[in-house]
C-alpha cells in the first residue's frame, strides 16, 4: 500500500462512504431510498477529483448483510477497505475470508433500530472476541444517548472501537450529551477513535464545531478520523465532497493536526 500523504489542501484517507446500486436487495428496515446509484467507480472518481488516495467504506443498513458489492470493490481496488454488517453467528472462516478481501471491521448500524441487540449475549460476546482476534474494529453508529452502555460493553470486550459522526450528540445537549461525554472519557483507553464526519447531520454547524474542539482537546489527532460520508444519504443535493473537506479545515485549523487526522491516524487504523 503506497502511503499517500495528506497535504495542507488535501486529505489522504476518507474513512466513511457508501457505495451501492439501486438494484441491490434492500432489507425490510430500510430508512432511506437512495435517489441514484453510488457506484464504486463514481466514488473512486470523487476521491481522485479531490486528491484523496485511500478510503474505507461503511456498510449501509438499508442493504442488510448484502456486503457483496463492497467486497467486490475491496477485492478489486487495494486503496479501499470496508466494514460489513454480519450476523453474530457468522462462521469464523467466513470472517477470515472477508479479512483477506479487505474487510477491516463490523458495523453496528444501530441508529435506526428501536431495539438494539444485547452485546452480553453469548453469540455477541463470541463475535466480539472474533473481531478482536482478527484485529478488526467495531464501527458503531447510534444516537448519543444510547452510546454509553454500548461503549462500556465494547470496552470490556477489548475491541477497537470507531464512533461515527461525532457520536451524534442529542439535540439540545451538544457537548454535554452523555454519549459525547462518554466518548471523551473512553478515548483515553487508546482503542477508541471518533469520526469528524457528517457535521451536516448534527443540529447546527456550531454544535459540530464545538464537538470538534472538545475532541481535539481530549482525544487529539491520533484518535480522530475524517470521513466524507459520500454520497451524503438524504442530503444528496445539499452537500458536496469539497464541502466535507472544507468542514474539516474549519474544525481543525491547524494544518499539521489535520494532516494527521486525514492521513497517518487513519492509515494506522485501517491500512496497517
Amino acid at each position: 500500500m503506497p502511503v499517500i500523504q495528506a497535504t495542507p489542501d488535501t486529505l489522504a484517507v476518507d474513512t466513511h462512504a457508501h457505495v451501492y446500486t439501486l438494484d441491490m436487495p434492500m432489507s425490510g428496515e430500510a430508512w432511506h431510498q437512495p435517489p441514484a446509484d453510488a457506484t464504486t467507480e463514481q466514488y473512486l472518481a470523487a476521491l481522485d477529483a479531490n486528491g484523496v488516495g485511500c478510503a474505507v467504506m461503511a456498510a449501509a443498513s438499508i442493504y442488510g448483510d448484502y456486503n457483496d458489492y463492497m467486497i467486490d470493490a475491496t477485492r478489486k481496488h487495494k486503496r479501499l477497505r470496508t466494514t460489513v454488517i454480519v450476523e453474530p453467528t457468522t462462521d469464523p472462516y467466513v470472517l477470515r475470508a472477508m479479512r483477506d478481501d479487505g474487510v477491516v471491521g463490523i458495523r453496528l448500524q444501530w441508529r435506526s433500530l428501536k431495539q438494539t441487540p444485547d452485546l452480553d449475549a453469548p453469540e455477541y460476546q463470541r463475535l466480539l472476541r472474533r473481531v478482536r482476534d482478527l484485529d478488526w474494529h467495531v464501527h458503531l453508529h447510534d444516537e448519543g444517548a444510547r452510546l454509553p452502555p454500548a461503549m462500556a460493553r465494547l470496552e470490556k470486550a477489548g475491541v477497537k472501537l470507531v464512533i461515527d459522526h461525532f457520536g451524534r450528540p442529542t439535540k439540545g445537549q451538544g457537548t454535554q450529551c452523555p454519549g459525547f461525554q462518554a466518548i471523551l472519557r473512553t478515548v483515553a483507553n487508546g482503542r477508541t477513535w471518533v469520526k469528524l464526519s457528517a457535521g451536516y447531520r448534527l443540529e447546527s454547524p456550531r454544535v459540530a464545531a464545538e464537538c470538534a474542539r472538545e475532541l481535539l482537546k481530549h482525544a487529539g489527532p491520533e484518535r480522530l478520523l475524517w470521513g466524507s460520508d459520500w454520497p451524503f444519504a438524504a442530503f444528496e443535493d445539499k452537500v458536496t465532497y469539497a464541502d466535507t473537506v472544507t468542514d474539516l479545515k474549519a474544525w481543525v485549523p491547524d494544518a499539521a493536526a489535520r494532516a494527521r487526522i486525514g492521513g497517518e491516524t487513519a492509515f494506522r487504523l485501517y491500512f496497517a
Partner: protein, 275 residues
C-alpha cells in the same frame, strides 16, 4: 437401466450435452419422507460410461431432493471430472464464500425443488432476495422443479431478481390442460424475455406423446434457443420405464432439422452451463 456399450449407432451425431442426470451412493443420508429413496448406487463412473456409450460429451448433474443439501457426493464428482457441471441444494442463508467455493468446484446453479413442497417459501423476503441476487452475481442459474400450475406464483420473483431460470421437464404443465395450461403459457412468455430455459426431458414420466406436443409447441412459439435436452438418468423411481437411448429418440422425433437438433442436444447447454 441399460448397460453401457449397448448402442451401436448414435441417435445424434454432434456435440451432445445431457442437462440433467443424478449420481448417488446407496448409503447417503436421506431426508424424512423422501420423494424417492433409491436402494442402489449410481456412481459418476457408471454415469460417465453411459455418456460415452451414447456419444454424450458433457453433462450437468442435478441435486436430488432425497438428499437435500448433502451435495457432497456430487461435488466430489464435479471436482474429479471436468466434463461435468452441477446444481446444488442450499439454504438461502448460505454465505457468498461458500457459493464461491462451490463455483470453483464447477457448481453452476441452485436447484429449488418446489414440487415436493405443499407451501412454497416467500421469495419476497430479504433472505430470498439476497440469495437470488448472489446467484445472479455468480452468473449461476436457478434450476426450478415445480408443477406447472404453480409456476406463475413464483416466476415474477425470479424475473425481478434478474437471475437465469431453468425449468425442469417441459415446465410440467397440468396434463389435463397441456399447452393451454397457464403455467406453460407463463413459461413461454418468460422464455421470450430471454432469461428462462426449459429442459425437454422426463418424457417417460409425463407421457411421450404428450411431451412431443409440448416440444412442438415450444418450437413453434419460442424457437429452439432456450430448449435443453436432458436424460434424467438413471430415471429414479421409474428405472425400467425407459432407456437412455430412448430419452434421446423421443426428443429427436420432433426435431425438424439438423440446426435445431444441434441446438437442443448440445449447443444451447454448452453456452448456458459451460461458458
Amino acid at each position: 437401466m441399460e448397460s453401457a456399450g449397448e448402442s451401436e449407432t448414435k441417435v445424434v451425431d454432434a456435440l451432445v450435452v445431457d442437462a440433467h442426470a443424478h449420481v448417488f451412493a446407496g448409503d447417503m443420508p436421506v431426508v424424512a419422507n423422501p420423494r424417492h429413496n433409491p436402494d442402489y448406487a449410481f456412481t459418476p463412473e457408471q454415469y460417465l460410461a453411459v455418456m460415452d456409450a451414447h456419444g454424450v460429451q458433457f453433462a450437468v448433474l442435478a441435486a436430488g431432493s432425497p438428499w437435500a443439501d448433502y451435495n457432497d457426493y456430487m461435488i466430489e464428482a464435479l471436482r474429479r471430472y471436468p466434463r461435468l457441471r452441477g446444481t446444488v441444494i442450499v439454504d438461502p442463508s448460505v454465505e457468498r464464500y461458500t457459493l464461491e467455493a462451490m463455483a470453483r468446484d464447477r457448481v453452476v446453479g441452485v436447484r429449488l425443488s418446489f414440487i415436493t413442497m405443499k407451501e412454497m417459501p416467500d421469495l419476497g423476503t430479504f433472505a430470498w432476495r439476497r440469495f437470488l441476487r448472489r446467484l445472479r452475481d455468480l452468473n449461476w442459474h436457478v434450476h426450478l422443479h415445480i408443477d406447472g400450475p404453480r409456476l406463475p406464483l413464483v416466476l415474477p420473483h425470479f424475473e425481478a431478481a434478474g437471475v437465469k431460470l431453468v425449468l425442469d421437464h417441459y415446465g410440467r404443465p397440468d396434463p389435463a390442460k397441456g399447452i393451454a395450461c397457464e403455467g406453460f403459457l407463463a413459461m413461454l412468455r418468460a422464455i421470450e424475455r430471454g432469461n428462462t430455459w426449459v429442459k425437454v426431458s422426463a418424457g417417460y414420466r409425463l407421457g411421450e406423446e404428450r411431451v412431443a406436443a409440448y416440444g412442438r409447441e415450444l418450437l413453434r412459439t419460442v424457437g429452439a434457443q432456450r430448449l435443453l435436452w436432458a436424460s434424467d438418468c438413471p430415471f429414479v423411481g421409474d428405472e425400467d420405464a425407459t432407456t437412455y437411448r430412448r430419452t434421446m429418440e423421443t426428443v429427436d422425433a420432433w426435431m425438424p432439422d439438423e440446426t435445431t437438433r444441434r441446438a437442443v442436444f448440445g449447443e444451447n447447454a454448452l453456452k448456458l452451463y459451460f461458458s
